[in-house]
Symmetry: C3
Subunit: 458 residues, 3 copies
C-alpha cells in the first residue's frame, strides 16, 4: 500500500508539471510571435485615422462575451449534472478552456493571421480561440469522469492543433462556409471525443455506475448551463459572420431553431418517457440541438420556416438518440459517452452540415442580391456554382470526420500511456481523487483515501 | 386503480400532442407569412447601400440578450424557490417561453409588421416576442404548481393573442407610451394570472402546503433569478425605446429606481419581520419592484430623483403586500397567488401606469426640446396636449385591466375543461408527477406514484 | 434573558432605520443636485444635432452590464461559499452595493462631474458607481460573517467617501493612470477591509469555526461567482478606458492574463495541496488574480506576453498566499480575513500597481504613436517624462495605502460603537440571526434563537 500510495502521489505531480510546462512554452511563443493587430495597437490604430466607432471591438465584443459565457458557464455547469463530479466538471472546464484559449491563439494565429513573422491578435482571435475551446469541451463531455486532468491537458494539446488544421482545410482551402461550426466545432468535437472514448473503453465501468447519475440539486446546476447555452447560441453562431445583415440574420435563425428544438424535445421526452414523464437529461441537452443544427446554414437564406423545421428535427433526433441510441453505443460499439455528446453535437452536427449542403446548393443571385458576396464570395465572383459549393460543403464534412477520427485514435493511444494519472474504475465520476472535498460526503472524506488500491482488488 | 392509472397515462399524452400540434401550426404559418425584414435579408440590406454599422442589430441586440436572460434565467430560477418544484419552474418556463416566442412572433407580426402579405422579422420582433413571453411567465407565477404543462400551453396560446391585441390597442390606437410595459406586460400579466388563479381556486390546497415553501438551497437558486432580473432590468425597459438619449435615459432611470426599491425592501422586510429578521421572499421579489414601476415613465423626464422616489415607493408597497395582502387575497378573495405576482407585478404595475400618467401630463416642450418628437410624437406634432396624453395613458390602464380580467376569465374556463391533465390537490408543487426525479426524494421516487388517486380519497 | 432579548430586538431596528435614513438623505441630494447629462437629457442631446449612434451609451453600456453582473452576481455568489451564510453573502452584497451605487453617484459626482451647481449623470457615472461598489464589496469580503448589516451600511457610508477622494487625488491631482483599478479599487478595497478586520479582531472567533467552511453545494454556488467574475473581467478593466484601441487592447490583455493566472493557480494548488489534490478555495479566488494584476497596465503597451507573465505571477502569489500567508495574517497580525481578500485583491493589487509603474516608465512615442495622447496625455503633451509618470504611479500606490489604512482605522472605531448590532462570537458566519431561514437547518430554526445570549456565557 505504501508503495502504491507513493506512486499515486508522484502521479499527482503530472498536473502541476504539465500546467507549468505548457504555460512556459506558450509564454515563450507569445513573446516571440504574438503582437497587437491594427485595431488593438495604439500606433497602428491612430495612424490609420479611423473613427473609434469603426473599431471591430464594438461589432464583435458583445457577441464574444456571450460565447465566452457559453464556454465556461454553459459547458462547465451543463456537465455538473453528476452528483459527485461538480468540482471536476466546472473546474476542469475552467482549466482546459483556459489552456485551450492560449494554445489556440497560437495555432490559429499561425494558420490564419501570421504576417511579417508575427501573429496579430484582437477580438476575432478571441472569438476563434473560444470556439476551439468549445470543441475541446465537447470532447471532454464524451470522456467526462473517466480521465485525469493531466490526460485532459494532453488531449487539449493535440485536439487544438487538429482543430486548427481541420478548420484551415475547410475554410481556407476548400472554401467551405461554416460560421457557427456545425462541422468544425460540433461534428469535430463530438467524434473526436467519441473515438477517444472508444479507445479508452473501460469494460468494468459499472463499478462506478452508482455515481454516474444526478441528484436533484445537481440537475438544477446543470440547467444553469443549459439555459445560458440556449440563450447565447444566437450570439455563438453569429459571432464570426459578416457584419450587418449577416450577423443579424444568423442570430434570428438560431433563435427560431432553438425554440423549435425545445418544443420537439419536450414532446419527444414525454412520448418516450415512463408514464409520460419528462426526463431532465433530454431537456438539458436535446433542447440545445437547434443551435447546433443551424451552425452552418444560419448565415444563409435558411428562411425562418427552415430554421423552425431544422430545429424541430434536431430536437427530435437528439431526444431519440438519448433514449435509444446511447445504450447501443455502449453495448455494441463500446463507446461510453458520458454526456451523450453524440446526441447533442454529433448527429445534430452532421445534420447541420447536410443542411448547409442543401441551402448552399440552393443559393441564387436573386435570393442574396449584392449580399451574395458576403455569404458565398466564390459563387459571387463566378469561381463556383451553387452546386459546386454544395459539393465542397459535403466534402468538408468527410474531411472533418476523418480528422476527428484519426486524430482521436492517435490521441487515445497517447492518453493510454501507462504512466499517466488516470482514475481507477472504482473511482470514476468522483471528485474526491482530484479535489479536497468538503462535507456532504464526510463519511468518505475522513477515511483514508481509497483511490490508491489497485483495480484488481477493488 | 388500474383504470385511473391508465387514464392518467392517457392524460400525459396531452403535453406531447399539444407541443407537436402547436409547433406544426406555427411552422406552417411561418412558412406562409414570415420573411426577413430589410435588415436581415441580404438582398434588401445590400440594395439599400447602408453602412453595416447602421444595422439595428448593433443598437438593440445587446439589450435583447439581456432581456432574453431575464425571461429564461430570471423568471425560471426566481420561481425555483419551491423545494420540490425546481424542475417544473425552470423547465416549464423554458417550454412556455419557447412556444410564446414563436406564437407571439406571429400574433405581434400580424398586428405590427404585416406588409405586402408578409410579417417581417428582425431584432425588434425578437425583443417584442420576449416581452410577451415575460407576460406569460408572470401569469405562470400566479398559478405555479397548480396546473399541468398542457394547461400552461393552452394558457399561453390564449394569453399571447390577448397580449398582442391589448398592446396594439394601447400603443397603436390610443397612442399610449409604455416602453417597459408597466401596463402591457406587468399589469396585464399579473391580473391575467390572478383572475386565472381565482377561477382555478382550490379550496383544499392546504393538502400540499408542506411543499409550498423553500429550503435553503432553493432560495439560493431563486436569488440567481432575482439578481439577473435586477441587473438587466435597465436593458428591459430601454430595449424598445428610441435610440440615443431615449435608451440611455431609460436605462439610467431604471438603475436608480432599482437601487431604491432594494433599500426600501430591506428596510420594510426587517421592520415587519419577526425579531427584525429579513425575509428572503421579500428580497427575492419586492426588491425588483423598482424595475416594474418605471416601466412606463422610464423613458420620460422622470428625473433621477423621481426614479429614486418611485423605486422606494414600489419596494415599500410590494413588501407590505407580501406581508399583509397576500394572505387576504387567499382568504377573502380566493386568489392563491403562488409567487405573489400581485405584489411584484400587479400593484407596482398599476403604480407605474399612474406614474406614467403623471409624468406624461407634466411634459413640456421646454423640458424635452427637440426630443419631444421621440418621446411624445403626438404632443410634438400638436395633435394632443400633455393633459390629453395623460388621460389616454390612464385609459390605457383600464383597457389593460379589462383585457386581462375578461381574458383570464375565459381562459380559466378553458383550463377547467375536465379532460385536461391537472395535478390533484395532494400533488401540487411537486415535480414528480411530471418529471423523472432523481435522488434526494428517494423515499418517494421509489414507491408507486400516488398521483393517480382521486382527490376525494387523498 | 427577556431584557437581552428586548435589547436585541431594539438593535434589529438599526438596519431598517439606517436604510430609511440613508435613502432619505440621498434622495434629497439627488433632488437638489443630480441632473441628466447631455447624453441622457432629450433637450440637450437633440439640441446638439448628434447622430444617435454617437451616444456614449452604445460604446459603454455593454461593458457596464458586464461590470454590473460582476458586482452583484460575481462578488455575491463568490462569498456564498460559507455553508450557513449564503443568504447574507448574496443578500448583504445586494443591499450594500445598491446603497453604494446611490451614494457613490453623489460623491463621485461632486468630485468629477459637478458643473453649474449640478452633478451630471449617464453611463460613465453608472460604471464609476459600480466600481466603487466593487471596492466596498472587497472590504466586505475581509469582514464577512463578523458584522451586522447596520455596521456594513456604516462602513459603506465611510468607504464610498474615502474611495472617491482617493480616486480623485490619484486620477485628477497626481495624473495617475489606473483604468481597471489595481490601486483605486483592489488595493484600496483590500487594505481598507484588512485594517478594519484588524480593528474588529475577535480573539474567540474559533467558537464559530465549524461554520467557517464550505459544503459541496456552497462551493458550486461560489463557482458561479468565480466564473462570472473571470469572464467579465476584460469588460471591467476596459469599461472606462478611451474608446477604440484602448478598450480593445485592455480587454485583450486582461483575457490573456486571466488564462495564465488560471493555469498557475491549478499548478500551485496541486503542488501545495495534500496528496496533490486541488483546493477549491484557490480555484475560486486565485484564478481571478490575473484580472487584478493588469488593472493598471492593461490599457498600456503591456504586450500579450507581458499579460501572460503578469497573470502567471499573480496566480502564483495568490495561491501561495492562501496556503501560507493567510494563517500567519491571523496568528501574527490578528487579521481575520474571511475571504482571503489579501490574496486576491491585496497582493495582486500592489503587484498590479508596480507593474503599472514599470510599463508606464517604458512608454515611448514610438510604441504608442498618436495613441500616446489617449493613454498618457501628460507625456504626450510634454508635461511629463515617462519616468516622471512612473514615479507618480508609485506615489499613487502609497497614497492609496495611506487612505485605506487610516480610513479603515477610523472606520473600525465607528463600527465598534457599543450600541451597534454585531453578531456574538458564537453566531458568526450564521444566516439565522439576520434572516428567516427555512429547512435544512430545521433543528436550529425551531429552537429559541440563541443569539441573545451574552458572549461570556456562550
Amino acid at each position: 500500500m505504501a508503495g502504491s500510495s507513493r506512486r499515486a502521489a508522484d502521479r499527482r505531480l503530472q498536473l502541476p508539471l504539465l500546467c507549468l510546462l505548457f504555460q512556459g512554452v506558450t509564454a515563450i511563443l507569445f513573446a516571440v510571435f504574438v503582437r497587437y493587430n491594427h485595431e488593438t495597437d495604439p500606433a497602428l490604430w491612430h495612424w490609420g485615422n479611423h473613427s473609434n466607432a469603426d473599431n471591430e471591438f464594438y461589432f464583435r465584443y458583445p457577441s464574444f462575451q456571450d460565447v465566452h459565457v457559453m464556454v465556461f458557464v454553459g459547458f462547465g455547469f451543463l456537465m455538473a449534472f453528476l452528483q459527485r463530479y461538480g468540482f471536476s466538471s466546472v473546474g476542469f472546464t475552467f482549466l482546459l478552456a483556459a489552456f485551450a484559449l492560449q494554445w489556440s491563439t497560437l495555432v490559429q494565429g499561425f494558420l490564419h493571421s501570421f504576417h511579417g513573422g508575427h501573429i496579430h491578435v484582437g477580438v476575432e482571435s478571441m472569438i476563434n480561440a473560444d470556439f476551439c475551446a468549445g470543441a475541446v469541451l465537447i470532447s471532454f463531455g464524451a470522456i467526462l469522469g473517466k480521465t485525469g486532468p493531466a490526460q485532459l491537458l494532453l488531449m487539449a494539446l493535440l485536439e487544438v492543433v487538429l482543430f486548427g488544421v481541420n478548420e484551415f482545410v475547410l475554410l481556407n482551402i476548400l472554401g467551405v462556409r461554416d460560421a457557427g461550426g456545425s462541422m468544425t466545432i460540433h461534428t469535430f468535437g463530438a467524434y473526436f471525443g467519441l473515438v477517444l472514448s472508444r479507445v479508452l473503453y473501460r469494460p468494468r465501468l459499472e463499478k462506478s455506475k452508482h455515481r454516474q447519475s444526478s441528484v436533484y440539486h445537481s440537475d438544477l446546476f446543470a440547467m444553469i448551463g443549459t439555459i445560458f447555452l440556449w440563450l447565447f447560441w444566437p450570439s455563438f453562431n453569429s459571432a464570426p459572420t459578416t457584419l450587418g445583415d449577416g450577423q443579424h440574420r444568423t442570430a434570428l435563425n438560431t433563435y427560431y431553431s432553438l425554440t423549435a428544438s425545445t418544443l420537439s424535445t419536450f414532446a419527444l421526452s414525454a412520448l418516450v418517457g415512463g408514464d409520460g414523464r419528462l426526463d431532465m437529461v433530454h431537456i438539458q441537452n436535446a433542447a440545445l440541438a437547434g443551435g447546433v443544427v443551424v451552425g452552418t446554414s444560419g448565415e444563409m437564406m435558411l428562411t425562418p420556416f427552415g430554421a423552425l423545421a431544422a430545429g424541430f428535427l434536431a430536437g427530435t433526433v437528439s431526444t431519440l438518440g438519448y433514449k435509444f441510441f446511447t445504450p447501443i453505443l455502449e453495448s455494441k460499439f463500446k463507446i461510453q459517452d458520458t454526456c451523450g455528446v453524440h446526441n447533442l453535437h454529433g448527429m445534430p452536427g452532421i445534420l447541420g452540415a447536410l443542411l448547409g449542403v442543401l441551402v448552399a446548393g440552393l443559393a441564387t443571385h436573386e435570393a442574396y442580391g449584392d449580399g451574395l458576396q458576403s455569404t458565398f464570395p466564390l459563387i459571387a465572383e463566378g469561381q463556383r456554382s451553387a452546386t459546386s459549393q454544395a459539393v465542397h460543403q459535403l466534402f468538408g464534412l468527410f474531411v472533418t470526420l476523418t480528422f476527428a477520427s484519426v486524430g482521436a485514435g492517435l490521441g487515445g493511444l497517447l492518453l493510454k500511456l501507462p504512466f499517466l494519472d488516470s482514475p481507477p474504475d472504482t473511482q470514476c465520476f468522483e471528485d474526491q481523487i482530484y479535489w479536497e472535498v468538503p462535507g456532504e460526503h464526510e463519511d468518505e472524506a475522513q477515511g483514508p483515501l481509497r483511490t490508491e488500491e489497485p483495480d484488481t482488488r477493488a
